[in-house]
């Protein structure tokens, strides 16, 4: 049984299609990164998984439970860090945790939770209305962890966190997965997804345009490491000779400068050797990791071009 399964899940707001017939399966035990620019429909899809928002068509199941009618069964097994929430400003951080412990009939000790998410016990006594965004985010992450949920749904979890907080978030995600939990988290920042995810799904304008492992996506779009090499003279080989090498693709030449994509970082030394064997001296080279940002932009570009063509 999949942790999450959606079937032509759709949500319209008047003319606007916020989520457009999405079929998505997230298996138990994986870390699934849910990517897309702001407004792509990520939060709306999450809202439907938790039955905050009813779908206009299609359906979704979480651990086999229908979101419509079995939402409580789902909520029993899911810990949530929602997007755009607010704490109860007149209640202390500790009272928030106690409330969740009671609601879940769990036996977690609020002090352990505070320690785990790095909140000072003295801060926990203060009213949550005084919390910074980062403190609030830590508290709500802690609330989501109570009762060892089988699935964590984290909507933009790094919002408001400093680098330490982001590292803590990653560590916690790994710990939770090691415990056997499934993690589904959304982000519009790709670097954060890259570090922890097994698979990613990419949303754009309401549609799920790609679901794959990070490697598969890199291969599919043909990016990885980009190598720039400057040579002193024309070596005794052609561009296609280079392209024939393992892990090398998309070789371009601009005078003495060569640019190519490497899917395998060991290919760099081989390329340089090959050029020098060909009689040229490499005077300069640099590599750049193609960021997921580029990859992302490229995928969305492709998607939009296709949409225009089909229109």
């Amino acid at each position: 049984m999949a942790a999450i399964e959606t079937d032509a899940l759709t949500r319209r707001y008047g003319e606007v299609v916020a989520v457009d017939s999405v079929d998505l399966t997230v298996e138990q035990g994986e870390v699934f990164g849910f990517l897309g620019p702001n407004g792509a429909g990520k939060s709306t899809l999450i809202n439907m998984l938790l039955d905050y928002t009813p779908p206009t068509a299609g359906q979704a199941r979480v651990f086999g439970h229908r979101t419509r009618g079995e939402a409580v069964d789902i909520r029993e097994r899911v810990g949530v860090l929602p997007d755009a929430y607010q704490l109860y400003e007149r209640l202390s951080g500790r009272r928030h945790l106690e409330f969740v412990v009671e609601a879940r009939q769990a036996d977690d000790d609020p002090d352990d939770v505070l320690a785990r998410v790095g909140l000072d016990p003295a801060d926990a006594e203060r009213n949550a209305g005084d919390y910074s965004k980062g403190m609030a985010q830590r508290l709500v992450l802690g609330m989501a962890l109570i009762g060892e949920p089988d699935l964590l749904i984290l909507d933009e979890p790094s919002t408001g966190l400093d680098p330490n907080g982001i590292r803590l978030m990653r560590d916690i995600i790994r710990e939770e997965v090691d415990r056997g939990a499934t993690v589904f988290f959304s982000s519009h920042i790709l670097g954060q997804v890259e570090a922890v995810c097994d698979r990613v799904g990419i949303m754009n304008e309401g549609r799920l345009i790609e679901v794959a492992s990070l490697e598969e996506i890199r291969d599919a779009v043909g990016v990885g490491t980009t190598l720039h090499v400057t040579v002193d003279q024309q070596p005794d080989l052609t561009l296609s000779d280079l392209e024939a090498m393992d892990g090398v693709s998309n070789v371009r030449a601009d005078g003495p400068e060569l640019t190519m994509n490497l899917s395998d970082s060991t290919a760099k030394a081989k390329v340089i050797n090959r050029l020098e064997d060909g009689g040229a001296t490499v005077v300069d080279f640099e590599t750049a990791e193609s960021s997921l940002e580029e990859l992302f932009a490229e995928l969305i570009d492709e998607d939009e071009t296709e949409a225009e063509v089909s229109a």
Partner: protein, 299 residues
């Protein structure tokens, strides 16, 4: 709905709402009004021969009128933001991430906020218990305490009904503005304007009826929750010189004459029918709001 979840929800909501400054301001206002009204009555010169126990009870009877103003206002102030506020701020997403049914959230909030109103009403009644002996004396303490306890219970019922109305409006509203406009309109229609509206409706039928007929007119008059409260309150003041306390909204004489002419008292003018009227307001509003809230888009 599960008791444990309701209790957890109600307790959280109570803890949250009772810390609101607005609640304490209106509670203090209630206590102040109780004190002022008690003082005013103590200044009346009663004729010789009025039994000692009557004056403190008369104070209570008189207080039912300000109570029909202040208690609904407190309840509406405490309740109107209860759901829509959480919905707009996003804290509702934290609740809905926990194993609560929407119905449990809704009813839990009604219970929690009713408890807050209960505290507020208790503050007002404590002020009365302290001030009445000071200003007018007690006369017959036993009778007085039974009466004030009875009035307290009946007033709790009024508070619970208006809290349910307020939380229901809050669950139905999409914005804070809608909620505040609706509770204001609700209070205006059910309390301030009710009698006037009934009189207006009676115009085509010859205006306010005279003795000997007009049971329908009183029926409509007492369908307002605050008027129903005054009828229920008269359960507490048995054998009291004023036959129909608290029904002076459009001339006590006229109504009393109608009631007297309708012997035996029709069922819809009994106190127990008024209890049912109050419950019907709460249950009706609650069912309507729950039906809508259950399927609302809370994303």
């Amino acid at each position: 709905m599960r008791d444990h979840q309701l209790a957890v929800m109600a307790r959280k909501d109570f803890d949250d709402a009772v810390r609101s400054k607005a609640v304490w301001v209106v509670s203090a206002l209630f206590a102040l009004i109780a004190i002022l009204a008690t003082y005013r009555i103590s200044q009346i010169n009663f004729p010789e021969g009025v039994p000692a126990g009557v004056v403190p009870k008369l104070v209570l009877v008189t207080l039912t009128n300000p109570i029909t103003w202040i208690v609904p206002i407190i309840a509406l102030v405490v309740g109107y933001m209860s759901v829509v506020g959480e919905r707009r701020s996003g804290s509702l997403k934290l609740l809905l991430g926990l194993p609560f049914e929407r119905g449990e959230i809704f009813v839990g909030k009604i219970l929690g906020r009713t408890a807050v109103i209960g505290v507020s009403i208790a503050v007002g009644f404590v002020a009365m218990v302290v001030m009445i002996p000071v200003f007018v004396g007690l006369g017959a303490p036993g009778e007085f305490f039974v009466a004030i306890l009875g009035l307290f219970v009946v007033t709790l019922l009024l508070g619970a009904v208006f809290t349910t109305l307020a939380v229901s409006v809050s669950a139905l509203a999409n914005t804070r503005r809608q909620a505040i406009t609706t509770v204001f309109a609700l209070f205006f229609v059910t309390h301030v304007a009710w009698t006037g509206v009934i009189q207006f409706l009676a115009l085509p039928f010859g205006g306010v009826p005279r003795a000997g007929s007009g049971g329908w007119y009183l029926l409509l008059s007492y369908l307002s929750p605050t008027a129903a409260y005054t009828r229920v309150a008269s359960l507490v003041f048995t054998n009291f010189p004023v036959p129909y306390p608290g029904i002076a909204m459009d001339g006590i004489g006229q109504r009393a004459r109608i009631v007297e002419s309708l012997q035996p008292t029709p069922f819809y003018l009994t106190e127990w029918f008024a209890v049912l009227t109050l419950l019907a307001w709460a249950v009706g509003a609650g069912l309507l709001a729950h039906a809508v809230f259950r399927n609302a888009d809370l994303g």
